[in-house]
């Protein structure tokens, strides 16, 4: 005390001139202060005085205050402080001494403040409960009083001015301010906190809080209440805070003092308070946040909007002081806003240490994850939707958050919201689920499934007509469908709905087309893209999935219609088309085995398919070839139906039904060939190209009637040149799919001859030459596929073997056989060489070129690894989806690869049959022979020769006379 006194005196002298005005005010204030304990007015006055003094005293003060606070209560001191403060202003040096003074003062004030609300004002501190509500009113009252008093206002202004001056002088400026405030603390409660914000609080934690409370509760009573239910579980601290706050009021000194100490003890005064404010305000904040979820989502907008109303209130309160605050050179304004936030508690909630939130608007603190998730259960709908929206934002490209949401049981809550009647709620929930379901972490997907998310999504899809929601639902399903175990679940719950709700309407397909209206085009909407992507994924889930999709009413029809429409509009590069083609390709896989009634169409493997060879040879053959079939009434000559010109192609007769085909039967009708060929011709999308080639590959596999027709139709439609052209594609997988398709197509003898004659160079050019890879650097699988195709073509056809030799392939083959790093390539090349060598009539010319038998025999290494006859030696494991049952007669024919998943890598282009037959079967040639028993050799050769001059890869039989071209 004595020290203080000294200081006071000395400063006062020095500053006398400048400070003169203040002293008067201060004096007044002091007086009031003394009264404070009893009356609210006193607070006000105190505040004013504080401002003036505060600036001068500073950091030191704060620390001191903390300790001091508990110890001393001297109303009298206050007056002293006031006095001291005046002198302090003049010189910085004085300020130090002042500080001490301040300290003492502060203590007193602080206590007074708590006491004031509790004991003095209304409840007199006796009733804790009452204090809350009552206190609020009172405080307001107090505020009103303060404002009402002109003196107070005036004093403030002056004091502020003084401060500014002092700041200029002292570098520590801000700190000092606070210190001063503390000293005057009592008054500031409402006032000071509002204007200066955070800094103040440290000093008056309790004061402030008490002061704040009333306001908060006052302004946002409802929210607070609402919140409390929800909020508490979320923010455990909230409860404590409340206690603390309430306690101080009730019990005044002790609890209050303790809290203060801790906080003040912290390295920074501000920090402890910040924390406190967080805690205490947490409830409110959350509430506020929830209510104003938009803010969270769109921070800038929301906050702005948010503040406005509140600020307005604040401004009203502060109004009298406002000018002072803003006029202060110290740029107090900002602090002031902060402070107001804190006060506002509900609004800002902001003090969280997290730098992010603070940086934009210090008042805001983003709710943490548990809070957000808890808000999903909030009774107020906008809170739910905003929480979900915020969750979506948080989960975006952040696997960690997704995982956390899962651990915090957020997924079931979101799924539950899908059935919420309000659009914005289920929309936002769905958006969050979509993000959560995205990514490699399948656990999230499983979590959605485990709480029946898939049926819920389907329900929502059925229920809503909102495009955005539909996009979100289908997008989520697309994400979910990438995980194998969920595929069947999606099929079980959603296949027909997805088809009826999305695929069919968007494809433009009409079950019963109106004759008058022209067919509708497909709409490549996002919904359609998502849905087709989902179905594309699920269609790869094995035979049962394929069966379900094929038998799904309208699906195949709609997909085909959509693709036709795409071809018609020359719009074939988009993702939807890709998805559709991939579904078609998958559904075409193993049609010859899996389609109901397929056995009726099986051709004995030993018989040449009538469609493939017979009809093309000569028209005369037609009758004979179809003799057996004609007993089946359904067959009739399609050529006739298509008109004269087509008939002249000498096409094979296609089976036709009296009723239009529909459903899965469409998959393997020869009509689809033209569709796929159009795609192969027009599309620039590698995935689409690959899928279209894969579809042809699948359809041309197998020994059943339809695959024979398909093979012949491809030729008839001039598909071979298109496919061969694609062998030059830059895309590895396209080359692979095309090569395998050609291999399957070459099961048709005519195709084999044509391919052998005209495609050999392109095939060979895809082979690596020795160690050197060609520019394209194709993958092993592709090289193996090409080699297998060559093998297929060369086998049993010395003519083709000759063109292989002419294509300079032997050198490459030998090089691969001897030097390739890949065992599979080595073996495949070895087979080709053996097949070539088996043509005895070629050995002479081979010898002339310098080759001998050793070049065509399996190398020692390959033999060591295992002879061809040794199935297990082949690395089947690298061949996805292969069937191991070579015994199956059907596997003999080229099967296709089902394609898969969205990711390009997911597609396995490898031909099952290929593997089975070529790699596994010991005696390849015999295998082939079984498959395609040769017809009369001489006949064939003659035929072939005559054909060769014809247009490239177009069967002469199918070709019309050169078209007329007339000058005009």
């Amino acid at each position: 005390m004595p020290a203080e006194v000294r200081q006071e005196q000395s400063p006062s002298n020095q500053t006398s001139l400048a400070m003169m005005q203040e002293p008067q005010e201060i004096v007044e204030e002091t007086v009031t202060i003394e009264e404070d304990p009893g009356t609210p007015t006193s607070h006000v006055s105190v505040v004013t005085s504080d401002d003036g003094t505060t600036r001068r005293t500073e950091t030191k003060v704060t620390k001191v205050v903390k300790t001091v606070t508990r110890r001393t209560y001297h109303p009298v001191v206050v007056s002293e402080t006031l006095v001291g403060s005046k002198p302090a202003t003049p010189t910085p040096g004085d300020s130090d001494s002042v500080t001490k003074m301040v300290k003492t003062v502060t203590t007193r004030t602080v206590r007074q403040v708590p006491l004031g609300p509790d004991g003095v004002p209304f409840p007199e501190g006796s009733s804790p409960l009452g204090s809350y509500t009552n206190s609020i009113d009172r405080r307001f009252m107090k505020n009103g009083e303060r404002f009402s008093t002109p003196q107070a206002t005036s004093t403030l202004t002056r004091s502020y001015n003084n401060y500014s001056d002092s700041y200029g002088e002292t570098p520590e400026g801000p700190y000092r301010h606070y210190g001063l405030h503390d000293g005057y603390g009592d008054l500031p409660d409402s006032y000071g906190s509002l204007s200066r914000g955070v800094n103040y609080r440290p000093r008056y934690p309790y004061m402030a809080s008490s002061g704040y409370r009333p306001e908060n509760s006052y302004t946002l009573p409802i929210r607070k209440d609402d919140y409390s239910h929800v909020a508490q579980p979320q923010v455990p601290l909230g409860g404590t805070v409340d206690l603390n706050r309430s306690q101080p009021e009730r019990f005044q000194a002790e609890p209050y003092g303790l809290e203060d100490d801790r906080r003040s003890l912290g390295p920074d005064d501000d920090e402890p308070y910040d924390l406190e404010s967080d805690y205490s305000t947490a409830n409110r904040r959350t509430v506020g946040g929830a209510n104003h979820g938009r803010h969270m989502r769109e921070p800038p907008r929301v906050r702005g909007g948010y503040e406005d109303p509140i600020e307005a209130d604040l401004i009203d309160d502060r109004h009298p002081y406002m000018p002072n605050l803003y006029s202060a050179p110290l740029a107090q304004a900002e602090l002031g806003s902060l402070a107001s936030l804190d006060r506002m508690g509900p609004m800002g909630g902001r003090r969280s240490p997290s730098a992010d939130s603070v940086r934009k608007d210090p008042r805001w603190r983003d709710p943490d994850l548990p809070e957000v998730i808890a808000m999903l259960g909030h009774p107020v709908d906008p809170v739910k939707s905003n929480a979900a929206a915020y969750l979506q934002h948080l989960c975006y490209e952040n696997d960690k958050v997704k995982k956390e949401v899962r651990h915090l049981k957020g997924v079931p809550l979101l799924v539950g919201l899908l059935d919420h009647p309000r659009p914005e709620v289920h929309r936002k929930a769905c958006g969050a689920l979509r993000n959560i379901s995205y990514g490699r972490d399948h656990d999230n997907k499983v979590a959605i499934k485990n709480c029946d998310g898939i049926p819920a999504l389907i329900r929502l899809l059925r229920k809503t007509s909102d495009m955005e929601v539909r996009e979100l639902v289908t997008g989520t399903l697309w994400n979910l469908s990438s995980y194998e175990p969920l595929k069947m679940v999606i099929i079980n719950h959603g296949l027909q709905t997805l088809t009826n709700e999305v695929i069919i309407p968007h494809s433009g397909w009409e079950q019963e087309p109106n004759e008058d209206s022209k067919p509708r085009d497909a709409e490549w909407t996002t919904v359609f893209k998502n849905t087709s992507g989902c179905l594309r994924n699920v269609s790869s889930d094995g035979a049962e999935a394929r069966r379900r999709l094929r038998e799904c009413e309208g699906l195949v029809d709609a997909l085909l219609h959509a693709l036709q429409s795409a071809v018609g509009k020359k719009d074939m590069d988009n993702k939807s088309v890709e998805n559709c083609v991939c579904i078609m390709r998958n559904l075409s896989y193993h049609v010859h085995k899996e389609v109901p009634g397929a056995e009726k169409f099986q051709e004995p493997s030993t018989n040449q398919a009538p469609g493939s060879v017979g009809p093309q040879r000569k028209k005369k053959d037609d009758a004979g070839c179809f003799g057996g079939k004609k007993t089946k009434e359904e067959w009739f000559n399609q050529g006739r139906k298509n008109g004269e010109s087509e008939k002249s192609y000498d096409t094979l007769d296609l089976p036709k039904r009296t009723e239009p085909t529909k459903g899965f039967e469409l998959l393997y009708q020869p009509e689809v060939v033209r569709l796929y060929l159009s795609l192969l011709t027009e599309s620039q999308n590698y995935n689409t190209l690959e899928a279209a080639a894969g579809a042809l590959q699948n359809l041309s596999a197998g020994q059943w009637t339809w695959s024979n027709y398909i093979r012949a139709t491809v030729r008839k439609e001039k598909g071979l040149p298109i496919l061969v052209e694609l062998l030059r594609s830059d895309s590895d997988k396209v080359v692979r799919a095309v090569a395998i398709a050609l291999r399957n197509l070459s099961m048709d003898r005519r195709n084999k001859d044509l391919i052998g004659s005209y495609a050999m160079r392109d095939l060979v050019s895809n082979l690596p030459s020795g160690q050197q890879r060609p520019a394209k650097n194709l993958e092993e699988d592709t090289v193996v596929a090409v080699l297998n195709t060559i093998h297929e073509i060369v086998t049993d056809s010395s003519e083709n073997a000759r063109s292989l030799i002419q294509a300079q392939a032997i050198e490459k083959l030998v090089a691969i056989n001897r030097t390739s790093q890949s065992q599979r390539e080595t073996k495949a090349a070895s087979y080709v060489l053996q097949a070539v060598w088996s043509h005895k009539e070629l050995r002479n010319s081979l010898a002339k070129d310098g080759w001998n038998k050793t070049h065509f025999q399996p190398t020692a290494t390959s033999q060591a690894k295992g002879t061809r006859s040794n199935k297990p030696a082949y690395d089947d494991t690298t061949l996805p989806l292969m069937e191991k049952n070579q015994g199956n007669k059907k596997s003999i024919s080229g099967d296709m690869i089902p394609m898969d998943e969205l990711d390009p890598d997911g597609y396995s282009t490898i031909d099952q049959k290929d593997k089975d037959c070529k790699y596994k079967s010991g005696d390849v040639s015999s295998d082939l022979a079984e498959r395609e028993p040769l017809k009369n050799d001489t006949n064939r050769k003659q035929f072939v020769r005559t054909n060769r001059p014809a247009v490239n890869l177009v069967d002469t039989c199918d070709v019309k006379p050169q078209p007329v071209d007339s000058w005009v």
């Binding site: 022209k518 247009v951 177009v954 070709v959 007329v964």
Partner: protein, 123 residues
């Protein structure tokens, strides 16, 4: 330009007016046509849809009236003086173009570049 049977065909067309060049008794347009419903559409190197049996410009003589008028190889002729050319035989088309009593033929033609241009413009 492709079509679906039974569906109206829409195409971006360009009007081309060719004044025939008289050489002695002959009126010359200076281009040749291919295609027609009696021809094999598959051999038409210009059509995108190989089932298109329309009439296509197969050659254009250098410096001839057709070239001057802007006709290009590969153009598909949709109409000649208002007559449809998409469903005619080759000979019908030829006759329609070579009427002795007409000095001017007005063509509607379409070509891929036109469609592309329009599509791009719409984008």
């Amino acid at each position: 330009m492709s079509f679906i049977p039974g569906q109206p065909v829409t195409a971006v067309v360009q009007r081309i007016e060719i004044c025939k060049l008289r050489q002695c008794d002959n009126l010359i347009l200076g281009f040749s046509i291919g295609g027609g419903i009696d021809q094999d559409p598959g051999q038409n190197p210009f059509s995108e849809d190989k089932t298109d049996k329309g009439i296509y410009v197969t050659r254009v003589s250098k410096g001839g009236p057709a070239e001057a008028a802007g006709l290009m190889i590969g153009d598909k002729i949709m109409q000649v003086n208002g007559w449809d050319m998409t469903m005619v035989t080759h000979d019908q088309a030829r006759k329609r173009l070579t009427k002795k009593n007409e000095d001017v033929v007005r063509l509607l033609v379409t070509r891929k570049s036109l469609e592309d241009a329009v599509r791009n413009a719409m984008v």
